[in-house]
Every structure is written in C-alpha cells, then in structure tokens.
C-alpha cells in the first residue's frame, strides 16, 4: 500500500511498483515516480518543514521547483548528505533517507516555535534596532544565537565522494521548457533540420499537461501527446532532449548554463555515473518556453500544512494519484482553481466550498460547480485558518460585512493567479514590461537573440500558444540554416483560462490589520512586514526586499515577488510598475557547486607543470615547491636530514665540488630576425648591438613606468638570433610584453618571437669540478677558460644530442648551463649525474640556489624587487645603457619620485650575532625604542643561513640604504630586537674570481 490517500485509478504511477523510504526515521511506502512530497502526502504527512524565522509548521506549497517550504535533508551516506532538497522535486527511490530541518528536538515539537509567540518583537528589520548594548555582546551573545537559529539544513561535513561532469555544446536552437509551448517549438524547429536542444527541469516533459486533465492535443490526452512528442524528438538525430535539466543562467551572447540531475533519483547509481552534468550551451537562437507559476493568496495564517497552490493539488491528484485531503476548501481569485476542485470532486474527494473573492467567476464555472454539487461562495474571502500541525478549518466571510463562518477542512487549495516566468528572459538582459491589461510583467525589449512563447509570454489561450511556439520554432530553425519544413499540425483544446487574478493582500490582511499573512513563506515575510518597510522609508522595491528579505529565500521569490511588489505599491499609493521590480539573478534554481566545478578538482584544479627531470628528482628524494604552476625540486634531503641540514650540505658541496640543478623552468624565448638586436635594445635597459655571437649578457627589463619587470641572461647565438631567458613565473607575461611592443609599437622591426620554454631542458652544472664533469660528454666545443670564458655560449653536442651550452653562473662558481632538447633532458641529466656523483657532487634544489645566489648578491626579481623597484634602487645602474635613445621604461625612470632622494635601495645586512637568521619580510628601523606606529626604513627581502660564510646573510631594501653602509639598524621582532649592520650585497668571493676558475 503506497499511502491511504492514494486514489485508485487516478494518476500515472504504477501501483505495483512500490518503493520504501524513511522520513525522520519512520518508514513509508511510495510509488516509483513519486516525488518525496507526493509520497508523503499519499501517506497523510503534510508537516514537512519549519519556517526560517518563526519555526512555523509547514507543508508543501507547490509541486515543483518553486517550493519554499518542504525542504529536507537527503542522506545517502556520511559523505553524501544533501541539505535543503525540495521534496516536490526530489524523486523517491528505494531506501531513501529523508530528514526534516531547522527544528529541535523534532519536527512535531520544535522549541524554536517559541519565536512565533514572540513574533511581535521580531518584525522586519528588528535586528537593526537592537542588540547594540552592551557593545561586546553583539559578537559574544546575540550574533551566535541569531546564527544558530538561522540557516536551514546542515552543511555536509565530509568531502563529497560523488563526481560531476560537464559538456560544452553548440546548437542552432535551444528550447528552455518542455511544456506544450516548448515541445511545439522544438518539433517545428527540429523539422527544419536545425540542431535542437530542449530541456526541462522535471523528470518528464509535458509541463502543465501533467495536471491539466481535460486537455487534448490532436484528439489524444494532452500528457500522452507530450510524452509522444518528447519521444519523437528524442528519436531525431538532430535533437537532444534533456529532462531533469534546469536552465539556470543566461549569459552574454546566448550562452546558457544547464544543470542536469543524473543520479539523484536512483537508488543505486553506477559508480561511474556522474551525479550531475553541467551543460554549457552556445545557441544561435533561444526559445524561452518557461511557463508560469501560480501565486498563493495572501491572508491570515495562510501557511498551515495542508494549504497549497491549486495547481499543486491538481498535479498530486492527476499525476501522482494522491488526494491532498478528504475535505478540501478552495480559495481563489481566478478560474484555474475551479478545475482542481472539479477534478478532486470527480475523484471522490469532498470539496467543502469554493471561496472566490470575485463577484463573477469565469463563464460556465458556476454551472459546472453546481453540476458537481460544489458550493461556491463568490464575493467571499478566507480570512483565517486554524489547525496546529495541519489545517483543520477555514474562516470564510463575505467581502463586505457579515459574520465569519468556520468550515472544517483538512486541505485548502488556493490561487491568486499566475506569474509568467520571465526569469531567463530578464537574465538575458531583456527588459520586462508591465502589461496593465493583465496586470503582469511580460517580456518587453529583447537584448539577445531569443523569443518567448506561451505562458511566459503572456499567451493564455492554448491554440494561440501552440501557434506562437510553432512559428517561433520554424523561424528559429530557418534563421539558423534549416530548410523549409512543413508546420507540425497541432490542435489543442480543453485547457482552462489562467488569466486574471490578484496580487497583494487579500481581505482581512489589509493595511489596518496585524495578522500574519505570509508573502514569502520560507523567510516568514508577511504583508505587514512589507508595510512596515514602506513606513520606515523603504520606498524602493530593492530596499523593501533587503529590509524584509522578501524573495531572498532559496526559492528566490518565485511565488512572493509579485505579491510583495503589490503590497509595497499599495502602501506607497503608487502603481506597481512605478515601484519597479527587483532584478532576476542567476541561477533560476540553486545549482550544486560540484556541478559547476565538475572536473576542476584535485589534480585538475590547476595542471601541474613538471620538468623532464621531474621523475629523476622524485626518485632521488627531492621535496618540491610550487612556483606558479611548476613543481620545482626544493631540496634533496638524505636520511636523517631536515631541510636546514640538506641545504647546508648542498651549499657546501656546490662550492667545494659541484652541483646539478634543474633550471628547466626558466622562461626561454627565441628572438630571431635582422632587427633582433635592435628590438632587444628597446625591450631591455642594456645595449645589445655590440654583443658578439657566442657571448651572453645579463639583461634587465622594465615596464614603461620604469620599474623592474623581469631579468635574465640573454645569449647571442648568431647575428640575428638571441636565446633569451626569463624568470620562471615571468615567462608568459614577458613574451606577451614583447609581442605587444613588436606587433603594435614597433611593427617595422623584422623580428620573430618564439616561446621555447618547454623545448629546452636546462641542467646547471656549477662548482669547481663543473668542467671536469661535463667535459668527456661534450663534443665539438672547447671548454677551456680561454676558448669559452664566463658569459659565453656555444652550440655543439653533449651525449650525442644537440646542445646550447652556456658558460654562466648564478652561484658565483664556474659553471655551465646545458640546454638540450627537452626529450633528452633526463638522459643527459643522468649521464652528467653518472659523472658527477663519483666526484662527490650533489643535486641541489631551489633553496640552495637561493642561498648561493644571495651569497653573491644576485637578486631574484619578485623577491628582492616587488614592482616598485628601479634598476638604480636594486644597484643595477650599470645595466642601463646610457647612450640608447630609447627603451621601454626610459621615460618612467625620469619621473620626479623615481629620481627623488630617500628611495629604498638594495643593500646587504649582517646580524650582529652571526648565528641569528633574520626573517624574510622583517621590517627595519633606525630607532627600536620609538612608539608604534614606527618609522620603518625598509624590509628584509632575502635571508639565509650561509654555511659557506659561516654566518647569516640577508638582503634588504632600505631607504637611502647605500649611504648607510656600516650603520647599525634594528629589526624589531615580537620577542626581541635584532641588531644589524648595513653591508654590501656580496658576501662571498667579493672579488668574483671563482667564476673564472
């Protein structure tokens, strides 16, 4: 048995296909195809949630994604707990576990409901007016209490074990919505041969036909037609039908995001199945067929479980075969609720009364009601309801006077009219326009290549909807290159008329009342809250929204926005369009982060770049550091060594014997062409014309503002060919910078730039035995000091493969940088290592590289400079060619502040206690005893223990630093002050003789 309220013969589900699930620990049986909401109502459960602020008991309001009340947690296992799931959307599956939210200790008895009694105190915005005394109490007391009371479900507390996927896709026509208008448009477009995607958020196509029982299409029942139409579309090669797929965001140039729920409805998803799939669609044409959403009536206590939209009750009945009650009341301001009442009555449910606030219902309705023996009270209103955890009675009153009459009911269905869903249209930046005749916002001026059809376009008549949709589909198909095609012949009849209705508060909830007539159910916003906002000066609808939080709950105002606007307009004495409309913001319904992220997690969050020697480094125990996207060997600890010990050993070994360093991450740019030297003259501060082929030079690159942008060694390979190196992090931006000038400022120069960063593996062999190590491996290059002095470059072979061999040094030792094609990198490295290791050399990482270069006073751009440092500041004036008429940065360097006295200059620092190592980033002062805020002279840019110097060394940027040589300055630390002496930047081999060894 799938619930006492299941009506035999009603609905489309198969009675034999039962599923068992639990809600708050109780076991229930539903049917395959049920939503959690329909299955619970079938079992007589209406109490499904508690409201945000007052913790009022709530049941379902709707039967779709507009649901504000029935939100639950769905728990598959510890890692897969999903809060805030709409019971009206979630399909039940065997073994499902659902739990209620925002209640303690239980849904039935919730202590938080005391808020409801205190609600006079908790009017809109009350928290802005209080909790200010004593000052410290806000954070210590009030805020924690408010925070604990707020929120709905509980966040997962373990990493998500589900996975998600994504597809980019192009199509000619994207149809959003699989109701009659969407299906008609898709059929028409598809027949032109255009590629079509049609999506719908529900598990099935058909839209309103799922509950509009009387509709026929071409003579067959409307829903059957819809199923057949969707099947027909799905069978076409040029069409993709996506159900359970919500179009959530409409971005620039017809870029639409769709979220597909792949497995949330399955009891046992296959492990390889993604939970959700993100579709990023670029459509030539978009057809919006998003329908309309019914509004509730705004009256006193309109929120008790059992009170719901008429369309919801009708869907529960006609689609799921579930009666929402046994004694149903109806409260309406338009005609569509009548159809629900008639369907219920025909299904054997007692309809106690139809309360219509209008004098004159639509044509024929009174007669049809009379035929079914349903009492209709026109010009009446429901002014109150009663019932603790479910409605038990409604109080009905004639609109002008008279006594109230209580009618016992166990469900109350309502309709204030229908709001066209212009969300996606508005997201496309189209402007909605107020239609005074029908009192609703409709698509106005379009901003993108899209068309609205059907209910979302304000088209009420079924045949008119079909015709409009077919015309739009054909036009879209043809406009995107489809062939001429016959119109699909579609004739629909039997649909009710959904136009008309009311917006704003109903009788008994007007301006002079203090009743709780809910506008936004989830956020507990009542009509009087909106009036209070207006009274307090909130005259913009955006202020009203923010002050009351109307429309800001997880349903984003799908049922509440228009009511809120109407109430505010009434309070302001203005027409609705004068008050404005809040912005429709993406997403249409909430979208899982995981779905948006999809594959972008873990290793694919950001690809790691690895050098050709990475594997060798791993095998030899390297610890890696992240430098941009690169993984660089940081140091190579041996057994028992910490970082400090490893680095000390590496530093000693390089200077005593030699070391191998993987410098492959350095950026490399091949600059080629007759004007190559001329171009480099403009790009670097240095002069390049006189550099001879076979020689290298250290270059400084500035931005136009005169600050150091990058540096590196440049080798002239031939008259017209330079091998430029850049910093590791700077490679892409340096190439971009060069391309920019070459293409746009100096296009007359005949130069080609090619990134070769990943083409060359670079093995630095540094130290006294560097030559001895590589010599036997090198062919065709004379490595002697005389033939190949410091700062020279040769082409030849090493280990039989081509090399560009540079005699350069970032350590101050004699050394070589062996450039070989990347594919040979590891083999050559291993060959060199085989020579180096027996001689006592080591492999060293970036930390040792940093220490060794600091011992020599070589800067690292980005560490010793920070984008505010000029070459002069860095002590690199010598690298500026004085005779050049122009280079990038030449004018920037002349600006008043860049030539002013007192600039920070790069100097060396020695601590008075040689064992004390300064912290990088530590600040330097002249007077450590001054009060805070202190006058800071500069900061430590680099600082290391230098094993080779037997003391700590540091570099710092200090105001007027070079003039302070020999001065004692102070580095105030939290626990002590460190005395330092300003020195030069070279700490080791000051004469620079070793490099020529």
């Amino acid at each position: 048995m799938s619930g006492a309220n299941r009506i035999a013969g009603a609905g489309r589900l198969t009675p034999a296909k039962t599923v068992r699930f639990t809600f708050d620990g109780d076991i229930y049986t539903g049917l395959e195809g049920d939503t959690l909401a329909s299955a619970l109502i079938a079992n007589g459960v209406h109490l499904m949630g508690r409201s945000f602020k007052y913790h009022r008991p709530r049941g379902v309001l709707g039967a779709g994604s507009e649901e504000p009340n029935a939100l639950m947690g769905i728990e598959r296992d510890k890692a897969r707990k999903q809060p805030n799931v709409r019971a009206t959307v979630q399909e039940v599956f065997e073994g499902m576990t659902a739990v209620s939210q925002n209640r303690w200790p239980s849904l039935g008895f919730d202590v938080g409901a005391v808020n409801d009694l205190l609600s006079p105190f908790f009017a809109a915005g009350f928290y802005y007016k209080t909790f200010m005394w004593p000052k410290a109490a806000w954070q210590k007391l009030y805020e924690p209490v408010i925070r604990a009371a707020a929120g709905l479900g509980v966040s997962p507390d373990e990493a998500d074990t589900d996975h998600y996927t994504s597809r980019y896709i192009h199509c000619d026509v994207l149809v959003i919505g699989g109701g009659v208008s969407g299906l008609s448009a898709a059929l028409a477009a598809a027949r032109t041969g255009a590629s079509v995607i049609i999506c719908d958020e529900q598990a099935h196509a058909g839209g309103a036909f799922a509950y509009e029982a009387g509709v026929t299409m071409n003579g067959e029942p409307g829903f059957d037609w819809a199923v057949a139409a969707a099947n027909e579309l799905a069978a076409m090669d040029n069409v993709r039908v996506l159900t359970r797929t919500t179009a959530f965001g409409y971005y620039a140039q017809n870029f639409v995001g769709l979220a597909e729920r792949v497995t949330d409805h399955l009891a046992d998803p296959e492990p390889q199945q993604p939970r959700e799939r993100l579709w990023q669609v670029r459509a030539k044409k978009v057809i919006l067929a998003t329908g309309a959403i019914e509004r509730h009536m705004v009256f006193a206590n309109n929120d008790r479980p059992g009170i719901m939209l008429s369309s919801a009750a009708r869907k529960f009945l006609n689609h799921y075969g579930v009666a929402v009650g046994t004694k149903v009341g109806v409260y309406t301001a338009n005609d569509s609720a009548y159809e629900t009442a008639f369907d219920l009555k025909r299904a054997g449910v007692s309809v106690e009364a139809i309360v219509d606030c209008r004098d004159h219902p639509g044509e024929g309705l009174l007669e049809r009601a009379a035929d079914l023996n349903i009492e209709v009270l026109t010009d009446h209103s429901v002014i109150n309801t009663s019932g603790a955890r479910r409605i038990s009675a409604m109080t009905v009153k004639r609109n002008r006077g008279g006594a109230g009459r209580s009618i016992a009911v166990d469900a109350l269905i309502m309709s204030a009219g229908w709001t066209p869903s212009v969300h996606m249209f508005s997201q496309s930046r189209g402007k909605v326009a107020w239609d005074a005749d029908t009192q609703r916002y409709l698509p106005g001026e379009y901003a993108q290549d899209c068309t609205s059809v059907g209910a979302c376009n304000g088209t009420d008549d079924l045949q008119a909807t079909i015709d409009e949709a077919v015309a739009a589909g054909l036009a879209a198909g043809k406009a995107t290159g489809g062939k001429r095609a016959a119109k699909p012949k579609l004739a629909g009849s039997g649909a009710g008329n959904w136009s008309g209705g009311m917006a704003g508060s109903a009788a008994g909830a007007g301006p002079d009342t203090t009743v709780k007539a809910f506008v936004d159910f989830q956020n507990d916003v009542t009509a009087k809250d909106i009036r209070l906002a207006v009274r307090e000066g909130m005259h913009s609808i955006e202020h009203v929204k923010r002050f009351t939080t109307n429309g800001m709950a997880s349903d984003q105002g799908k049922t509440s926005n228009i009511h809120g606007l109407a109430i505010a307009a009434e309070a302001l004495g203005r027409d609705m369009p004068e008050v404005g409309l809040t912005t429709f913001r993406p997403p249409y319904t909430p979208v899982t982060f995981g779905s948006i992220v999809n594959h972008g997690r873990g290793k694919l969050f950001d690809p790691a770049r690895k050098t050709p020697m990475h594997g060798w480094e791993e095998e030899h125990g390297a610890v890696f550091e992240d430098v941009g996207q690169w993984k660089r060997a940081w140091y190579y600890p041996r057994a028992g060594e910490d970082m400090h010990a490893a680095v000390n050993r590496e530093c000693r070994t390089v200077r005593a014997v030699a070391g191998l360093f993987d410098a492959s991450t350095l950026g490399k740019i091949e600059v080629v062409g007759p004007d190559a030297a001329k171009f480099l003259d403009l790009m670097y501060t240095n002069g390049w014309q006189k550099l001879k082929p076979g020689r290298c030079k250290y270059g400084i690159m500035l931005r136009e503002d005169g600050f150091i942008y990058d540096d590196g060694v440049v080798a002239r390979i031939a008259e017209d060919r330079f091998h430029v190196t850049t910093t590791t992090g700077g490679a892409p931006r340096v190439l971009n910078h060069m391309e920019d000038y070459l293409q746009t400022e100096f296009p007359e120069l005949d130069v080609w730039l090619t990134s070769t960063s990943e083409q060359w593996a670079v093995i630095a062999v540094q130290g006294p035995k560097a030559r001895e190590i590589i010599a036997p491996l090198v062919e065709g290059i004379d490595l002697s000091n005389e033939a190949m002095p410091h700062m020279s470059a040769r082409e030849g072979k090493i280990c039989g493969v081509p090399t560009r061999l540079f005699r350069v040094s970032f350590t101050g030792e004699a050394g070589f940088e062996v450039n070989v094609p990347a594919d040979y990198g590891r083999a050559v490295w291993e060959a060199i290592w085989a020579r180096a290791e027996p001689l006592g050399a080591c492999a060293y990482g970036t930390e040792t590289m940093h220490v060794l270069r600091a011992e020599k006073g070589f800067i690292i751009v980005g560490q010793d400079t920070d984008g505010t440092v000029t070459p002069q500041d860095a002590g690199l004036s010598w690298a500026i060619a004085k005779s050049k008429p122009d280079f990038v940065g030449i004018r920037g360097l002349m600006r008043p502040d860049l030539v002013a006295e007192g600039r920070k200059q790069l100097v060396g620092l020695k601590t008075k206690d040689p064992k004390t190592v300064l912290e990088e980033g530590a600040q330097i002062v002249a007077d450590p005893n001054q009060p805070v805020p202190m006058k800071m002279l500069g900061h430590v840019t680099s600082s290391y223990w230098s094993e080779n110097c037997g003391q700590s060394i540091a570099m710092a940027l200090i105001a007027d630093g070079r003039a302070r040589a020999g001065e004692t300055l102070y580095v105030p630390m939290p626990d002590r002050t460190i005395e330092v002496e300003v020195t030069g930047t070279v700490f080791f081999d000051e004469k620079g003789e070793r490099v020529n060894g």
Binding site: E739, T744, E745
Partner: protein, 104 residues
Amino acid sequence: MLLIYCPYCKEERPEIEFRHAGEAHIARPTDIKAISDEDFEGFFFIRSNPKGIAFERWRHVHGCGRFFNAVRDTVSDKIIMTYEAGKPRPSDEEIQARLKELAL
C-alpha cells in the same frame, strides 16, 4: 563568456582564447624621453573607461597570438566589430552602420 571574432583567424572564438589588453589607440609617443610628466601620466595612466562604445585591444593569445582592436559596448558587453592592429579607429558612421547590421 564572450564570443570574439579574431580578424586574423577570421573566426569567432570563445573569450577564454583571448586576453584583454586595455584601451586601444594609445600610441607610445615617438620621442617618449622628451615628453612632460603630465603627458607621460596621460599616456600610461589615464584611461577613457567609457560607459558605452569602447575601443579596446585584445590578443588572441591561445590562437594566432596577434593583437587586434575591438569596438565594444561596455553597457551590453556586445562586441560591435573587431579590426587589425594599426588600422584607424572606426568612425561613428561605420559603428552605427555595423550596429544596424547587428540589429537585423
């Protein structure tokens, strides 16, 4: 994500292939060394930043690598036209004509 027509590749490609490169038609002064501080400020720092029609540079960095110019409406983000670097700024008439074309 915008769609951008590369005037060199002659293809419309998604924005992530491109890198925005700032305002267009700001030429580096030929004798930059001689300009005043004020002119340098104007060249390097001051930007039109218009609300409406903007002339801007893009680079098809993950494509042909070329810099080119675009006319874009900064209110709608619609790209009205793109053209090769070095070509003169399109006239108001050309832009209006192109806008009309786009509206069709």
